[in-house]
C-alpha cells in the first residue's frame, strides 16, 4: 500500500463519532449503550466497504469493522469480519495488527468464553484477589450485564479498600435498576461495611448519601451519626442530635417508597425501629425544651447497644448477600 493513501470518506467521521460515544458509555459502565454505539459503527464500516475499489483498502477496513464489533462485545460479528480478511492484501503493519488481534477475538467468540471468565472471577474472589478482578473487568466489560458489572466493581472496590469507588459503582448499579432490593440494601449498608476496614463511617456515609439517597441509605446514615456521636461514651451534641433527627424523619417520610420486600425485611426493620426509637426520644426531649445538661443526662440513660447489635446483624447480612450474589452471577 506504499505511496497510495486510503481516501477519506465522510462515513469515517460518523464512525469516529459513534466510537467516541461508545467509549464514553464504557467509561460510565453503560455497556448496553456502548454495544449500541460501537455496533452501529461496525455496521456502517461493513456497509461502506463497497466504496473502495482497491482490495487493500477493503481488507484494511474490515479490521476497523472487526474492532468496532469487538468494542461492542459482538465477538461473533468481529470474528466474521476477521475471517474474511486475506492477509496478503494487507501491508506489514496491518498484518501485525491482525495477528495480534485474532487470538483475542477467537477466544472471546468461543461458547465457553463467558462461563470460563465468570468461573475465573469467582476463583479470584475466593482468593481475595480483588484488584485483579477489577483489572479483568476493565478489558472484559461484557462478561456481565451493566448492573452486574457495576455490582462486581463495587464489591471488589470495597473489598480492596476503596469505599469511595464502591459507592460510585453501587450508585451506577442502582441507576439502572433503582428498585432492586438487594442493591438498595447493599448500597445503603456500605458505610457500615467500611468500618471493617478502619474507615470513618461518618465520612463514608456522607459520600453514600451524595450518590445514593433513599429511605434506607438515609436511615443507615442516621444510625451512623448517632453511634458516631455516642462512641466511647461521648456525649451527643445538640448539632448531632438534630442531624440525626432530620435524617430519621427523612427516612420515615420516604420509607414507603422502598420495595415491599425491603420494608418487611426483619434486619432492616430492626435497625430502622432502633434508630426511630432513639430519634423519637430525642424529639421528645427537644419539644420539652430541655437544657443541654438535661438532654445529656437523658441520653446517657439510653443504651445504644440495640442499634449496635442491629448494625452488626446488617453487616453479617451484607456479607452473606454479596457471597450469594456472586455465586449466582457465576
Amino acid at each position: 500500500m506504499k505511496n497510495q493513501s486510503k481516501p477519506f470518506h465522510p462515513y469515517m467521521s460518523e464512525v469516529s463519532k459513534l466510537e467516541s460515544q461508545g467509549r464514553c458509555a464504557l467509561s460510565m459502565g453503560d455497556t448496553e449503550l456502548a454495544r449500541e454505539k460501537y455496533g452501529k459503527a461496525g455496521d456502517i464500516i461493513a456497509r461502506s466497504l463497497k466504496l473502495f475499489r482497491s482490495q487493500e483498502f477493503v481488507h484494511d477496513e474490515r479490521i476497523f469493522a472487526a474492532t468496532a464489533y469487538f468494542q461492542a462485545g459482538l465477538y461473533t460479528e468481529a470474528w466474521k469480519q476477521l475471517q474474511r480478511i486475506e492477509p496478503r492484501f494487507l501491508d506489514e503493519r496491518s498484518r501485525q495488527i491482525l495477528e495480534d488481534f485474532l487470538p483475542d477475538v477467537r477466544e472471546r467468540n468461543r461458547k465457553s468464553y463467558l462461563t470460563k471468565m465468570r468461573h475465573h472471577i469467582h476463583q479470584l474472589w475466593k482468593l481475595k484477589k480483588h484488584e485483579q478482578i477489577i483489572e479483568i473487568l476493565k478489558t472484559h466489560p461484557y462478561i456481565y450485564d451493566r448492573v452486574a458489572l457495576a455490582f462486581f466493581r463495587a464489591v471488589n472496590c470495597v473489598e480492596s479498600g476503596s469505599w469511595r469507588a464502591g459507592n460510585i459503582f453501587y450508585a451506577d448499579a442502582l441507576k439502572w435498576r433503582p428498585l432492586d432490593r438487594d442493591l438498595m440494601f447493599l448500597a445503603g449498608c456500605a458505610p457500615l461495611n467500611a468500618i471493617r476496614f478502619g474507615n470513618d463511617a461518618l465520612i463514608v456515609s456522607q459520600h453514600t448519601l451524595k450518590l445514593t439517597r433513599n429511605a434506607w441509605s438515609v436511615c443507615v446514615a442516621a444510625g451512623i451519626v448517632y453511634l458516631h456521636a455516642m462512641r466511647d461514651g461521648s456525649k451527643l451534641s445538640n448539632q448531632a442530635a438534630k442531624e440525626f433527627i432530620e435524617l430519621m424523619d427523612e427516612s420515615t417520610a420516604t420509607f414507603a417508597e422502598l420495595p415491599d420486600s425491603l420494608q418487611s425485611d426483619p434486619d432492616v426493620v430492626n435497625y430502622y425501629n432502633a434508630s426511630r426509637a432513639e430519634a423519637d426520644a430525642l424529639k421528645q426531649f427537644f419539644s420539652q425544651n430541655l437544657t443541654q445538661t438535661q438532654l445529656e443526662e437523658s441520653l446517657n440513660s439510653h443504651d445504644p447497644s440495640i442499634l449496635i447489635s442491629s448494625s452488626n446483624l446488617l453487616i453479617q447480612r451484607e456479607e452473606s448477600l454479596i457471597s450469594e450474589s456472586l455465586r449466582l452471577a457465576n
Binding site: 469515517m12 467516541s20 474492532t67 495488527i97 476493565k138
Partner: protein, 212 residues
C-alpha cells in the same frame, strides 16, 4: 504565548504560557466528538502525571516542541492546559474512570486529546476521524481548512525517563506516517512524565514528501 523561535529552552523571561482550554476538544473538533472520547483521559493523565495535582486543580503545564521536517530548528512552546470550564469532571468521575480503563488505554486516549489540542493551536487543523484498529494503535486523520485530509500518527508514553525514549517513538511514528501518507502528515508523541524534571512533554512534527 510562551514561544521560543530556536532550538532553545524556556527561561524565566518568557511570557506566561498561553492557556488552551480542553473544551476545544468539543468546539474545534466537532466532527468526531473528541470531547466524549478523550476529555476524561486527558484530565486524568494530566491530574496524576507526572505528579498528583492537588484536589480541585484544573490545569497543567505542557511543554511542546513543534518541528518542521528536515530542519534543525524547532519552536518551543509552553502551554497551560485547562479544564476549569469542564463540568462533570469531579473526583468521583475520575475515580470511576481510573477503575474502568487500563493504564494503557488511558494514556493512548490522553495522547489523542493532547494531539488534538496542539494540532489546532499550532497547525489550525481539525481532527476528522479517530478510529481504533485492533487492540492497539489508533488511526487518525486531520484536516486543515482548505487542504486535503492527511494522516496523523499519535502515540502516548506514560513515563519517558530519557530523551531517547521520546525520540525513538517520534522516529518510529515518522516512518509510519510517511509510509502511509507520502504527501504530508503529522506525528504527535506525548510523554506524560518526561525526564528527570518530570514534565509533560509533547512533540508535534510535520512531514511533507519522502521518507525521513
Amino acid at each position: 504565548m510562551g514561544r521560543v523561535t530556536s532550538k532553545n529552552f524556556y527561561n524565566a523571561a518568557m511570557d506566561a504560557p498561553k492557556t488552551l482550554p480542553l473544551d476545544w476538544l468539543r468546539s474545534k473538533h466537532p466532527r468526531c466528538d473528541l470531547h466524549s472520547r478523550c476529555l476524561q483521559a486527558v484530565v486524568y493523565r494530566l491530574s496524576v502525571d507526572p505528579t498528583q495535582l492537588a484536589e480541585g486543580s484544573t490545569n497543567r503545564i505542557v511543554d511542546v516542541e513543534n518541528w518542521e521536517k528536515d530542519s534543525d530548528l524547532h519552536d518551543c512552546y509552553r502551554f497551560d492546559f485547562s479544564w476549569s470550564g469542564c463540568s462533570a469532571l469531579d473526583s468521583d468521575s475520575l475515580l470511576r474512570f481510573q477503575r474502568t480503563w487500563d493504564s494503557e488505554a488511558i494514556t493512548e486516549n490522553a495522547a489523542i486529546g493532547v494531539m488534538a489540542m496542539l494540532i489546532w493551536e499550532l497547525a489550525q487543523a481539525s481532527v476528522v476521524t479517530v478510529r481504533q484498529k485492533g487492540r492497539g494503535g489508533d488511526y487518525d486523520f486531520v484536516q486543515r481548512e482548505g487542504f486535503e485530509v492527511m494522516k496523523v500518527e499519535v502515540s502516548g508514553i506514560k513515563t519517558a525517563p530519557h530523551l531517547s525514549s521520546l525520540q525513538v517513538r517520534v522516529a518510529e511514528k515518522s516512518i509510519s506516517v510517511v509510509l502511509k501518507f507520502p504527501h504530508e502528515g503529522f506525528v504527535s508523541v506525548t510523554a506524560f512524565d518526561y525526564g528527570q524534571e518530570h514534565l509533560v512533554k509533547s512533540v508535534l512534527k510535520y512531514h511533507r514528501g519522502d521518507l525521513p
